[in-house]
């Protein structure tokens, strides 16, 4: 399942998407260490599979927590996307 975490404002809808089907086979769990803010957690989902999610306490402030990794110019590769060896994490913006 593609789990979308994000927000909507005057300029559009912005999401971090985690493709949890890709998480199932992942043993590295690079997302846990990859995010400087520690926003990711591994949980057991409804299908008894271990998948990544954004922790509850971060879900309503993604806009602010992700801002440090997303400067307007000279944006480096996103650390969470780089750390995810399964290629399960995508940002819409």
């Amino acid at each position: 399942m593609k789990a979308n975490y994000g927000y909507m404002d005057g300029s559009g809808e912005f999401y971090i998407t985690i493709d949890t089907d890709l998480c199932i086979e992942c043993a590295d769990h690079g997302c846990l260490e990859g995010c400087p803010k520690g926003m990711f957690a591994i949980i057991t989902d409804d299908y008894d599979d271990e998948v990544a999610e954004i922790k509850g306490e971060f879900r309503k402030k993604i806009k602010y927590d992700c801002a440090d990794c997303k400067p307007v110019a000279d944006r480096p590769p996103l650390p969470c996307v780089e750390a995810c060896t399964a290629g399960a994490i995508v940002h819409s913006w």
Binding site: M1, K2, D46, Y47, D48
Partner: protein, 290 residues
């Protein structure tokens, strides 16, 4: 004299008298404690054995017990005979006897897959207080979903409000909505409170009840179709939840989408609890293999 409650839908239980559950391998149950109704489903070796559908009270644990007790009635089975119990729905974390809580989105997808067959790809769950458009794969696993805004418009509760306003038993609304010469324009689909005021105005203008009902069914269909269009409708398409029994809304949704929804002889309201019982079976088998 007690006032008649037109919104009150039929609460009932059922069990398969031809099945002997003694000595069977797996007995699992799903309990769906929704915001308006609660259902309990018992499956014996993966086959539907018993269910009950009742109104949710103010106390979720009590509603879960009530639904389960009613499903067990006259079966000779007790709660202890059930090997795995899954709680789902709005009150899933308040099912005291559940071995596991699973979201109603996952349960409706799995229940819908069992009820309508593996060809189902889009399920519209029209619940008492919310509405969800769910995409699933051939195993009934959720691939994507979208929920309605926080509003009773397009939900079972909205229909209950209209049944009371018009003094029409809720089971008759679907049939009555077709008794119009020409389809009226929909009333407000933004909000049930606005729709109710608009309907009161139309009644005062002299509109017959069936025309007002048709206008509301039209509005409800329009509301959920806009939700479905945001996520996209992949064939086959099916409707679960209580409103799935209201042909006045179902037919209008089909008309707007240009797609016919799959039909079933089962009660669409038990899809969530059925999915819970199916999850229970899978989890039980998995735990036995360990």
């Amino acid at each position: 004299m007690a006032e008649k409650e037109f919104w009150r839908w039929k609460e009932y239980n059922w069990h398969d008298e031809s099945t002997d559950w003694n000595g069977c391998d797996t007995i699992t149950a799903g309990v769906d404690v929704g915001s308006v109704s609660s259902q309990a489903v018992i499956m014996v070796d993966g086959k539907l054995y018993a269910f009950a559908s009742t109104r949710t009270g103010s106390d979720s644990p009590e509603s879960a017990h009530k639904a389960m007790k009613w499903a067990l009635e006259d079966t000779g089975m007790t709660l202890d005979d059930i090997h795995y119990k899954v709680g789902t729905g709005y009150g899933r974390v308040n099912v005291p006897f559940a071995d596991r809580a699973i979201t109603e989105i996952a349960c409706h997808a799995r229940g819908g897959n069992h009820m309508y067959g593996s060809s189902v790809r889009t399920i519209l769950d029209m619940g008492g207080q919310d509405c969800k458009a769910i995409h699933c794969d051939e195993r009934g696993k959720v691939t994507n979903f979208l929920m309605n805004d926080k509003c009773a418009a397009g939900t079972g509760r909205g229909m209950e409000v209209f049944a009371d306003l018009l003094s029409v038993p809720i089971e008759d609304i679907g049939d009555l909505s077709f008794q119009v010469e020409k389809e009226p324009p929909p009333v407000s689909s933004t909000c049930v409170v606005f729709a109710k005021s608009e309907a009161s105005g139309l009644l005062r203008k002299g509109w017959p009840k069936n025309k007002v009902i048709a206008a509301y069914c039209n509005a409800m269909a329009h509301r959920v179709v806009s939700l479905l269009e945001r996520i996209g409708v992949e064939k086959d398409f099916a409707i679960t939840g209580g409103i799935g029994k209201n042909m006045g809304v179902v037919k209008r949704i089909e008309g707007e989408l240009g797609i016919e929804a799959l039909k079933t002889n089962s009660d669409t309201q038990i899809a969530g609890a059925l999915g819970g019982a199916l999850f229970g079976k899978a989890l039980l088998e998995k735990s036995r293999k360990k």
